[in-house]
């Protein structure tokens, strides 16, 4: 898995695809993750954010190799904990644009609890779950989204356990922007990324990204050129602020619909609430210096 290519030098203030490219991806040829990466480059170019303020983070998995392939500040953390790690980055630094990538095992299994709490807390960051319904990096074990009957190395007779419903899980986490897209639909992916990036709060996108090695053809039913149907949510009919309607979409028959399921625009972020608390606290202590404050605490213990 070692990588050799040297990244192309980026220029300050000019965001280009070349300047965003880093190591050549180590994914298998044909892996859906390439397209997820390409759409990320393009979205960043379009958003034209200061490159040094973009942070690309991930957990562990094939999909989580992402940061090495992007020339931004990057962090490759541990399996399942990318969200709390990224939450610290986001909460510590309001000037940063934090993007997190990872797989279905990373997000729904080992890290499942963190998704619920990042949702509750509404950290300001964007989380992309590259869902391939399988454990790719560890070579084909059952994942939390593997359908029942899926033959894996841990369930050669076909998986027994009922799969997690990804959209229902994300919606119930309290995430304030929830969308679904497909790695074969670059434009749609870009649109979802852009809206997620612009959303103030915890935005989560499920991208169906095929693992050609261990789960080939799994998403064909959503690929028109393979006879499937890529049905986009019509937002003139679906009110994105309507949670019951969003949950109803999540219950639709496979392959379901794509687009924005839910968006709560005015839910305050944890970042803002903590910032307000700091401002109120600073006000209350008369904006004293840290040293004066601590000295005052010691004086009260005399």
């Amino acid at each position: 898995m070692s990588t050799t290519s040297t990244p192309v030098k980026a220029e300050r203030g000019v965001l280009t695809k070349k300047g965003l490219q880093a190591d050549h991806p180590t994914w298998c040829p044909g892996c859906g993750d390439f397209a997820v990466l390409a759409a990320y480059y393009k979205t960043l170019e379009k958003l034209d954010l200061p490159q040094q303020n973009i942070v690309t983070l991930a957990g562990i998995g094939c999909s989580s190799r992402f940061p090495y392939f992007v020339n931004t500040h990057g962090g490759h953390f541990i399996h399942g904990r990318s969200l709390p790690f990224a939450s610290g980055v986001s909460l510590g630094r309001d000037d940063l644009h934090v993007f997190v990538f990872g797989g279905d095992g990373d997000g729904f299994s080992i890290g499942g609890n963190h998704l619920d709490h990042a949702g509750r807390k509404n950290f300001n960051l964007t989380y992309v779950i590259m869902d391939n319904f399988v454990y790719g990096l560890t070579k084909k074990q059952t994942s939390p989204t593997s359908p029942q009957g899926f033959k894996s190395k841990t369930d050669p007779w076909g998986a027994f356990d009922r799969p997690t419903n990804p959209m229902r899980k994300i919606l119930s986490s309290g995430a304030t922007f929830v969308a679904r897209t497909h790695a074969t639909q670059i434009k749609h992916m870009m649109e979802m990324y852009e809206r997620a990036a612009k959303h103030e709060g915890f935005s989560v996108i499920e991208v169906l990204s095929e693992c050609v090695e261990f789960n080939k053809g799994s998403f064909d039913e959503a690929i028109p050129r393979k006879g499937g149907k890529f049905e986009i949510i019509d937002e003139t009919e679906h009110d994105v602020s309507d949670m019951p309607a969003a949950l109803a979409l999540a219950e639709e028959q496979w392959p379901g619909r794509f687009g924005v399921y839910y968006e709560a625009k005015n839910e305050p972020t944890k970042n803002k609430l903590e910032r307000d608390l700091i401002e109120a606290s600073r006000e209350k202590v008369g904006h004293k210096s840290d040293k004066a404050l601590l000295a005052q605490t010691f004086a009260s213990m005399r």
Partner: protein, 602 residues
Amino acid sequence: MPEDSSTQKAVREEHIRDAVIRLAGNSQDGIQSIGGFLARLAGRSAQEVMTYMTIPATISGGPSIFQVRMGTGEVLSAGDEADFLLAFYQHSYENHIGFLKEGGVLLYDSDHVEPDENDNRFVKVGVPISALTVEALGGSSREKGKNLFALGLLARIFKLDVAKLREIFKERFGSKAEDVLRNVNLAFDAGFSYPIDNVLDRYYNFQQEGEYEGPQQVTMDGNTALTLGLIAGGVRHGAGYPITPWSTIMEMLRQQLPKYNGVFVQAEDELAAAAMAIGFSYAGHLAVTGSSGPGISLKMESLGWATMAEIPLVVVNIQRGGPSTGLPTNVEQSDLLQAIYGSHGDCPRVVIAAQNVEDCFYSAREACEIARKYSVPVFVLSDMSLASRIEAFDEPDLEALMIEPTLDTEDRSADFKPYDLERITRHAPPGAWIEGGVFPQVTGLEHDESGHPSANPQMHAKMMRKRREKIQKLADELPASQIYGDEEGEVLVVGWGSTWGPIRETVIRERDRGRRVGHLQIRHLNPLPNDLGEIFARFEKILVVEMNDEGLYGQGQLATLLRARYCNPAIQSLCKTDGLTFKIKEIMRGVEAVSPSHAPSK
């Protein structure tokens, strides 16, 4: 000894150097708060003070004690035995009479306690504390206020400074409703004016060694001192999950940090807390996470990442009895090897241990300095006994000690490498522009100098050495170890963490009886100081005292490490896991066991 008030006796005054007072009741009686008042009073006088506190493992009610040792001069340990026992209930009397010295004073609430008539080892003084408190407060508040009545009695017996006590009440209750402070004073006055000399034939008076002229003293418990040390060390960010006895630190940080432009997050679990703290640090703000017992185990994978990715971090472990949920409200020092080795892989990091309440402040602050300087996680070990024990110590000089945090997002030059093999890692946090336009990756995979994955075995060996050598460099920079007492001789008593007080007192006593004994308390446990081998060579025996199990091979955790490093069979181990701090006599017995005294004691 008289306990009968019928005959009036001449009251005598005894000058004493120090006194151990044990207050025993139920937790809802406010035992802890009178203990706190006494401790603070002693801190404001010329006296030293050390307290000992047990709280029941369950939260609602239940037996509770507070022991305060006040004295002039240095008070080193909470005291093996009490000079004075105040018992509120029959169970308080029965469970604690064994801790009272022969000839000591048993003061009891005669409304609840019936002491054994045939036991004449103590001076028994019964006062109807409950009834008199109800009377003083007009009967409205049931038995609330008993603690203050008792404090009044103690103030009378020990000739405490009443004006200073009233000041402390005012600070504590002044902001509450007016009648709260009034009731406090009423209950206190009722106790203070009780004619105790009718039943007790002596007053005590602490020997005053003239007016105190040293630095201003502050009085607080270990967890508070540790929290303030983190703030002085420039920590403004952190995350944690509640667990006793770590929780009070996270509560204080949550309440204090916003005033300092910071934030502390109560995370969903310790896995998230560690990850989030690392996120803050990666973002350029040195952060803290902490826990006790099982919570520390949950953090271990993330801590391994922080060593690998070379991220500065402070990790606090307030140790308690383990394994598993173990003895959640008892003291133990059984997490040393976990702190050093508890993550998978070869994972060097720094471990320091606070030796008393004052040192909780200094250790925490030092941990912040080391974490930044070496870009590494640093464990601060404290324990249950230090967490809630109150001590008075010299107010730290913030002019010299305060570290103001800075966020360094300056541009980095084109040759910037996050994992430069020739230098100690200094990360460029996000926001920093890199002149070459190549941004760094921070990772837990083995990597090359730029942070890109490398499975090359030579690179792994080089990076492993880089991570190890910076810790060795820290060892080179540690100050020389300080020995108390004899610099060479029969026995060197070695400890770490909160055993400092009882060991020091033991060594003083041993030397008083003519033995050539020294005390070395090791604060830096990983890396160990470089001068230990040479020090050990000067003693016939090295006795390592620690509150953990002797293990499969007969040695405690520090003793195991020291034996492994120095291969010195003179290193012997004294261990225990009874959930209580060491008594002086236990350590004296240990010294005797490894080095029998030939000369009769003086």
